[in-house]
Structures are given as C-alpha cells and as structure tokens.
Symmetry: C2
Subunit: 407 residues, 2 copies
C-alpha cells in the first residue's frame, strides 16, 4: 500500500490507508487514547481503543481507516490503527511540541533547533522562505537573468574592512565574502543580467535582533540601465513574484500563521532622501518605521554618498546624493541597491588610487562595462517582516551570531 | 525605440532597430568595415561604410537597418548604423575574444576571467550550469522537496578533520562547512524531504584537475526510505530533470559547444562494488573510466564501509559493505550518496562514544528520525563532464585552489 499524507486524508473516507510520521502528542481518556500524527503536510488524529506505548517523537508507519469526524482537525479521524515503529526517541524531547504555540524562550528554542523546528508554526516560517526563493528566481528568469555561483573565499573585503572574517588560505590571508557584489558586477560584463542566492558573512559585533554573522542574500545585477529607477522596476517585479509564489506555494503556512500578504502596487511609491525630513546621512530605525506608518512598501532613493559604498554612482545633478535606494517593508529596510560606477577612471578616483587589492574586480571596468546596477535582499529579514517576528533568529534555521555557533 | 537582442534580428528584416552590446571584433576591408556586436544572446555583423573609431570591448548602443544576408552569421547584417558609445575600454583586452576558440593557456584565461568569460564558448558552459540548477530544483520540487539554507560556519568537521579551513569566530574556533550533510539530515526530521544548493569548502592540498577548494554542491535528503535504492530513484529523476532543463533552456549553448546530451534511461543500470572486479576499498579513476566504456551512466552500489563516512548505513546482510552508491557519468563520479544511520545508539557506536563535537547534530537522532538517505552532486564536475572539459577549472567561474585566490 502506498503511503499518503495527512493532508490527503479527507479524499479517502472509509478507506484503509497507510501513513507515516512522528507521534506529535497523545492524550489518554480512560479507555480511549488520542494520538496526533505529524507528517510534512500537517497533523491527523488517531483514535486508539487499547493502550499503546508510543512516546512523543516516535517515528511510525501505520495503517488505519479514515472516518469522517467534523470535530477533529482536518475533518477526519483514523480508527483501528496498526503501527510499525521505525525509531524511538532516546529520551523525552526538551521542547513541548504538542502546544499550539511553543512556550520556551527563544534561546532554548534555538539551542534545540533540530527539535523545535519540527513544530508546525516554526516549520511554516521556512516554508515561506522556500516559496520566496522560488518566486525570486522565477521573477528574474522571466526577465532573462542568468543564475551564477560566486566564490565565498575572497582576497579583499567588499563592503569595507571592519566586519570581515579573515582566515588562512594555504598560507595566504583570505576573507569570507561579505556579499557577491564584485562578482555579480563583473558578470554583468558576461551575461548582462545575473542573479545569485547564497550565504554572506559579516563579523557583526553587535548583538541585535536585526543582524546575523551569516545570512542568505538574494542578489541581482543588470546592465544597460538608464539609472537606479530601472533597477527599482526589477525589484518591484521580484517582490511581486515572491509574494505571488508565497501565496500559491505556501498556502497552509499562511493560514497557520494567519499572515496577511502585502499588496504590491504596479509602481511602488518612492521618496527622495532629501524629502524624508531626516537631517542626517542615513535613516535611523525609527525613521524607517515612521515612513511606513501610511504604507507597507516604500522606496527611499538618493541616499547621501557619504553612507554608501565606494562603487555607488552619484546623482549627476546633485553629486552629494547617490543613485541608490532602499526598499522599506513594514518599517524595515529589506532591499538595498542602486546604480554602480561603470567607468574605470571613476573607480580609480573612488578608491583614491588604492586599486591594488581590487585588481581582479577592476578588470571588468578596464575592458568595457555598460551602465549597470543591482540590489540585494536578505531572505531571513524578508520572512521576519512577513511573519511579524521581532528577532531575525526566529526566521533563521540555525542562526550564527556573537554567541551562537551551534547547533 | 526599445532595444532588441541580436538573436531576434531575423524577425525584423528591413526594419530600423536598436541594439546594445560590446564590439566583439572588427575587420577593415578598405572602404568597408565589418564590426561584430556581442550581446547576451549572441553575435551580429554590422557593415560600416565609413571609418569608425571603436576599439574591441567598447560598449555601444546602436540603431541600424536589418538586411537579410544569407552569408552572414544569423542570416542578417546591420546597415547604416549610428552609434552611441556607453563606455570605452581603458586599454586593449589581454584576451583575444574575437577568435572562435580562445588560444590562451588555461592559467591566462583564469587570470583574466572577467574578460575571458565574455567569450561565447566560455559563457556557454555557465549557461549549461544555470539550466542544470533549474532542472535540479524543478525535479525535486515536483517530488515535494523543500528548499533549505544551511550554515557554512560550523563548529565541527563534517567529513573528517583533514581538509577543513579553520578560522577565528569571535574568539572561538570555527570551520567552513565541507558539506551541508549534518543540516540536511537534521531537517529531514522537519520537512522529510529537503534540498539545498550552495558552496562547500575543502582545504584540498592536491593540485588536480578534479578538485577545488570551493565548489557548488547540489544536495538532497529524504526520509521514510526503504534503503539506498529509494535514493537512487530520486537521483535518476534529478539527472533526467537536469538533462531536460539543459535541452530546453540552453539550446544555443548546446549548439555552440556541439554537445550530445546523455540519454537517461528509466532505470539507470547499477553494479555492486563486489562485482566491479576491483580488489580494493574504493574505485580508482581508471576503474571509473573502464566501467563507463559501455555505458554513459552507471550506479556503483555497496562501497566498503571502510571508505565511507561514519554516518553511512551498513548493508545489514553484509556489514562490510554499505548501503551507499556513486553515480558515474562518462567515466567520472559525479554523485555520491546512500542511506544514513538513523538510530541514536548507532551514532554513538559509530563515533566510538566521541559524541561531544556532534552534540547539535545528534539531537535529531536522539529525538526520533526515520530511515533516510540522500546524495550530493558537484555542479562544476557535472558541467565539466557535459562539455568534455579535462580540468574542472574550465567550468568554474572563479576557481579557488592551492594557488588561486583571485580574481
């Protein structure tokens, strides 16, 4: 008999079926016990008329009859089960998975991630992440972008020297890449339009709810643009694609977490930095929240050059400002991007002649590069904003920070 | 006027169109010059009646009239062009991109990767890689696998202690992950079926054509299997999906490189290690080539436990052999996989009680894990076998090895 999933049960009333999964919870009511089976698709209730010795998190295969039961989760129950135990836990789990919401503190939840991630609400957040990744790629492939794989072992810091992890590379000094920035720009010279998704590394010395030492960056870059508004148009397509993919592919997770997806307008509103009312070179978190009081999505454009990296293209009319942008979503910056310099001489000037550590990167510009730009989106931050998590660790499978290197 | 691509030209005979790209080559024949324009889709010939000062790798936008010309590449030529120069190279390129095949040595090609990758034949290999990635994901998503992001900063070596890169992580010793093995297994406990694509790191002290210090690993893992043959059935679907995606999405690259894709049979042939005629605990490269003399694809199963990692599940009938496999493709191992141990006590025994460095990993087994297995495929190796490259550096955008850390 072929295994089916708990979410398929309602299509099999009266049939004897085979299922497999974990014993999520049990409740003994005298002569009758109720077991909850958990599989990758959801939960199902099993009614057992005789005592069964099955501890929580036992892994089982079972055959049972599907009986309509409007009061039960999913509208069906399983009767007359016969079990085959595939594995038993060595000790009782340290996390009470049977609760509708976990009651443990975040540090405990993270210390026992291999177990706590089994909770349907924890798992759901990562189903949103997987769907978002799918939507990101599909949106860009529809726009003729090519996927690339860029090295994480690099010879120089991308985004400035402070927060990198150095290490010994066969007797030479190497770093973990802070971003795929140099490589995605270089490959605009090859494929014109590229994207990559993968880990980036920041030796972030601050213990905040918004920063991690390793996170998943979704990056794109494209050539033959007029300015950063062409990049923002791509960002709009990507966000719409991610929201659409989440809606289609993660329906159960959305329902479980009671999430409202944002409406992505055909044109996302934008506001120049000079018009934000901020008298500084960057927005503070409170500014980002204030600007989102009346809208979910907002581009802030033209950040002062002083706060953007050396490869940023200035606003030719007002060179104190840049052709850059951030996208704010529900009060937090989730995308950062802009137009980049594309002329070799502009790089030599921006680097103050200190070109030697960037020699490989600068080849691209030395031998002809079109006007181009791109953006990066932090996957865990995006999901945190979707689910309303206060701490980015809640939407990271195995977070890495100042204190946390395991599990 | 909207820009079109060179590959679209034949649909616009007699029209004035706009194009953009790089000056790939030029040929002066007295009163007439021929320029070759390169964009992301291919090449096009431009006929110029008057002298133009456009160096190789100049980035241009142009408008011109499309004239049918059976003798020209693509069957059309561009006449009466007007150019707008977007960027000029600072010096002549160090790679002669205009040749049908690059004549430079591999070290030179790699030293100037930002330029040499612009060559249509170099670029084509990475179009195969992008299509393969798409096929890998699509095949697994059709089988209800969930994409995961696993940490690359880890506390212990996955595949043994020799070839890891250690580094200082906020005062603690950390390593670059040699594989996502521990995390994909752990997440079988959450999603049952998972996959991930991303960089892995090996401090490989050998300077061979088959090994790199960083490569892209395509990994999958699934629960509720009977044994490794269930995993091999998924590998078959994945290989068929990758071949199909390459055929559909990288047609131009296949034609340019004159590649024959393999036929993927409904069941890929398999041979037990004991029947390979090899009197050792592993296959040598010559054995792999010999076994592929009469077939393109072959699973070798049941490798001796002595050569497989500690998490490998033994063959219960013949515990000297394992429930593992490699997939050979045209004489080289491209996939390795197998069934894993799933009982906590088996891990404690396999680790000889030295469980402390693996505490986070072992949580998964302590709290109930189903029989499971998985596999890993090296993307660059796969593409190298497809294109018939002798050296894996030819199919790696920016290779990292004993000597090479840039570009």
């Amino acid at each position: 008999m072929k295994r089916i999933l708990t979410m398929e049960l309602s299509r099999h009333p009266g049939e004897r079926v085979r299922l497999a999964g974990w014993i999520h919870a049990r409740r003994d009511l005298g002569a009758v016990s109720f077991l909850i089976l958990r599989d990758r698709s959801g939960l199902a209730q099993i009614v057992v008329g005789e005592p069964v010795e099955l501890a929580a998190e036992s892994v089982v295969e079972l055959e049972a009859i599907v009986v309509p039961a409007p009061q039960a989760p999913g509208g069906v129950e399983l009767h007359e089960p016969t079990f085959r135990v595939l594995a038993e836990p060595a000790e009782p789990p340290p996390i009470e998975l049977r609760r509708p919401q976990l009651k443990e503190t975040l540090p405990t939840i993270l210390d026992y991630a291999p177990v706590s991630l089994r909770h349907p609400r924890r798992r759901a957040a990562f189903e949103l992440a997987a769907a978002s990744l799918h939507g990101f790629r599909a949106a860009l492939e529809a726009l003729d972008f090519t996927e690339i794989s860029t090295p994480k072992i690099v010879a120089s810091a991308t985004e400035g020297g402070a927060n990198v992890f150095p290490f010994d590379y066969f007797g030479r000094r190497a770093f973990l890449a802070q971003s795929p920035q140099f490589y995605k720009q270089t490959l605009v010279g090859v494929f014109e339009r590229v994207y990559t998704t993968g880990p980036v590394f920041r030796a972030e010395p601050h213990d905040t709810g918004r920063h991690l030492a390793e996170y998943t960056s979704l990056d794109a870059e494209l050539g033959f643009i007029r300015d950063h508004f062409d990049v923002m148009a791509v960002v709009r397509e990507v966000i719409a694609g991610m929201v659409g993919a989440v809606r289609e592919r993660a329906r159960r997770a959305l329902e479980l977490l009671e999430i409202e997806l944002p409406d992505v307008p055909v044109e996302i509103e934008w506001l120049h930095f000079a018009d934000t009312g901020v008298d500084d070179v960057d927005l503070a978190p409170a500014d980002e929240r204030r600007l989102c009081e009346t809208r979910e999505l907002l581009f802030v454009t033209g950040y002062p050059m002083a706060k953007r990296p050396f490869y940023t293209h200035p606003d030719s009319g007002r060179p104190h400002y840049s052709n850059s942008f951030d996208l704010l979503f529900r009060g937090l910056e989730i995308v950062t991007g802009g137009q980049r310099l594309h002329r070799y001489d502009d790089y030599v000037a921006a680097l103050d002649g200190n070109t030697e550590p960037y020699e490989g990167y600068l080849q691209a510009f030395k031998y002809g590069m079109p006007p181009h730009g791109g953006f990066a989106l932090g996957l865990e931050r995006w999901v945190a904003q979707l689910v309303g998590a206060r701490n980015i660790r809640e939407t990271t499978l195995f977070p890495r920070d100042l204190n946390r290197l395991t599990p």
